[in-house]
């Protein structure tokens, strides 16, 4: 009985926090279902008088946002798949294979993480231009294929693989790549799932680099398309919120399905968004 009042107060504060956190999402979904002009009527109402999908229809039919959705999906899936391969190889090697300069190179990589990506952006743009990669999906994908935080994550996890296991395979005559593919890769699966979720969400949500590299609106990823759309359609609240729902939904669903993996990844430490 003595604990009832503090418990109630705690839950009240938490509930207010939850409502404040969810309110923008709730309004986003609600406004996206309103008829054109309904969200900017006075007095404003929170819920649509009669829900409609016309905004979503217009996004797909007239504004071709379905294409941008596929662009985003392509960029996120391809960059994640390639990064998983590159990062798992490197992370495993830094943890388990002795080679000259190993610890020096690894330390240098970690130190380089203080350098903000923006320092590299202008020269990188010029470099990609001479390679003919500006305004291509590869121009968006390539710079993010070997993230240092991913190498670090995998390396920390791979340290726990017992040497005896690898040595036994070597005694049996297995080559190093076979050992990686048959023994190490399956053992790394938990951390690779975590990294994969981070990588996918990072690529899906990224804005500045695709904004710089992509110039043709048929190649835009969803965030770039959305930021571009608000230039012409700032008054069309219902349409823009529908675009926001479309952009946010895949990552939100992915998070809800894989949230334990994702949250564990953060507490592993050393992870930079």
């Amino acid at each position: 009985m003595r604990k009832l009042v503090p418990a109630l107060a705690l839950h009240l504060v938490l509930a207010i926090g939850a409502v404040a956190t969810l309110l923008p999402f709730a309004w986003m979904v609600s406004a996206s279902l309103m008829h054109r002009g309904e969200a900017s009527k006075w007095p404003p109402s929170f819920l649509p008088s009669r829900a409609t999908l016309e905004n979503y229809r217009e996004l797909f039919e007239r504004l071709d946002l379905g294409r941008c959705f596929l662009n985003s999906a392509f960029v996120a899936v391809v960059s994640t798949a390639l990064a998983l391969f590159i990062v798992s190889l490197a992370g495993y090697a830094f943890a388990k294979l002795r080679f000259p300069g190993r610890s020096k190179i690894f330390k240098a990589l970690l130190t380089a993480m203080v350098i903000p990506a923006q320092v590299a952006m202008l020269p990188l743009f010029l470099l990609l231009r001479t390679m003919g990669l500006v305004n291509t999906y590869w121009g968006v994908i390539i710079p993010s294929l070997a993230p240092v935080f991913g190498i670090f994550m995998v390396r920390q996890y791979a340290l726990s693989i017992p040497d005896e296991l690898l040595d036994a395979a070597r005694v049996d005559g297995a080559g190093e790549f076979l050992i990686y593919r048959r023994i190490v890769f399956p053992l790394l699966r938990p951390i690779l799932v975590t990294f994969g979720v981070f990588s996918f969400m990072g690529a899906w949500n990224d804005f500045m680099w695709p904004l710089i590299v992509l110039t043709d609106d048929r190649k835009y990823t969803l965030p770039v398309a959305l930021a571009n759309l608000i230039g012409e359609h700032a008054q069309d609240i219902e349409l823009m919120t529908a675009g926001s729902v479309l952009t946010v939904l895949p990552v939100l669903l992915l998070f809800l399905v894989l949230q334990r993996t994702y949250v564990e990844g953060i507490t592993l430490g050393g992870i930079k968004e």
């Binding site: 590159i86 080679f99 320092v119 926001s244």
Partner: protein
């Protein structure tokens, strides 16, 4: 053991070769698409590389510290610098404080449905900044916006959030705190869970109140995490770009009140193609982040 020792010489050479081969793709990509551009960025900052340079690299001339000198005489640069510091120095501590408060609430023993609250508080973190900023742009609408409607419920006057230079930056900070606090909250929850409850019980027996328990037990125990969180939050916040870009339609307005350093670099470099000048802005950002990181590390070490 004996087979292992016998295998060692041959094995270690094969191992070294494999190790180098395995890190080669990652290192190759990092060198070509990060290290080389960073070095080139330093060089570029000392040239007058512009739109003509894009067509023909040889038109760019070496100007030495010319860009830096021009920056120091550029009032817009100083405005962007001041805005960025405003965002970092107010938004950063506020974000960390909200994260810590949320973590402590979640960690309280009496709380049920912890998983549910954690998921809800974390949801904004995973969402797309651009989409969220589009929504907040409407929440901040002076007439129809939800925020002013809520203020009106409490009898408070309307605020012209994104139209008034005094309110534009607070509006961006508010949105950033909402979007980001869940991330650091997760780190703090993990830290709080590692503090033995017996410590608090002993403190209570000794008559320590909640504030004293917080100062004498919680904060010292969380110190390594506070440093980590402080540094990553600061580094991230110095690079603010998307929030003002989307909320202000790419202008950094009103009256440059939300123009950040990175936005200024973007405008100079990728909109007006003053590439050498923009590279100098990026360099300033790098130096600031480096110094900021070193200061935070020093401060934390002194306190220990």
């Amino acid at each position: 053991m004996s087979t292992r020792a016998a295998l060692r010489p041959r094995r270690s050479r094969a191992e070294a070769r494999a190790g180098l081969a395995f890190v080669a793709p990652a290192l190759g990509l990092i060198v070509l698409f990060f290290v080389v551009p960073v070095v080139a960025g330093f060089l570029l900052a000392a040239t007058d590389f512009d739109i003509y340079g894009i067509g023909d690299f040889s038109t760019a001339r070496f100007v030495g510290p010319g860009n830096l000198a021009a920056l120091l005489h550029d009032p817009v640069f100083w405005k962007a610098l001041a805005n960025t510091f405003y965002f970092v120095l107010v938004g950063g501590p506020l974000s960390v404080a909200v994260s810590l408060a949320a973590a402590m609430l979640l960690n309280a023993r009496l709380v049920r449905l912890k998983g549910f609250f954690r998921t809800v508080y974390f949801a904004p973190v995973v969402t797309t900044m651009v989409a969220v900023a589009v929504v907040w742009r409407y929440l901040y609408h002076p007439r129809f916006g939800l925020l002013n409607q809520i203020l009106a419920l409490f009898g408070l006057p309307d605020v012209n959030w994104l139209g008034d230079p005094r309110w534009a930056m607070p509006a961006i900070i508010l949105m950033a705190v909402w979007k980001n606090f869940g991330y650091n909250m997760i780190i703090f929850v993990a830290g709080l869970q590692s503090i033995p409850t017996t410590l608090y019980e002993a403190a209570r027996v000794d008559g320590a109140g909640p504030w004293q328990q917080f100062r004498r037990i919680t904060v010292p125990a969380l110190r390594p995490m506070l440093m980590f969180v402080g540094i990553i939050t600061m580094i991230g916040y110095f690079q603010i770009f998307t929030e003002p870009y989307v909320l202000t339609g790419g202008t950094g307005g009103p009256l440059n009140a939300t123009l950040s350093l990175v936005m200024y670099m973007y405008k100079q470099g990728f909109r007006w193609w003053n590439i050498g000048f923009a590279a100098a802005v990026a360099l300033v950002l790098f130096v600031i982040i480096l110094v900021g990181t070193l200061i935070q590390m020093r401060l934390q070490r002194e306190r220990q």
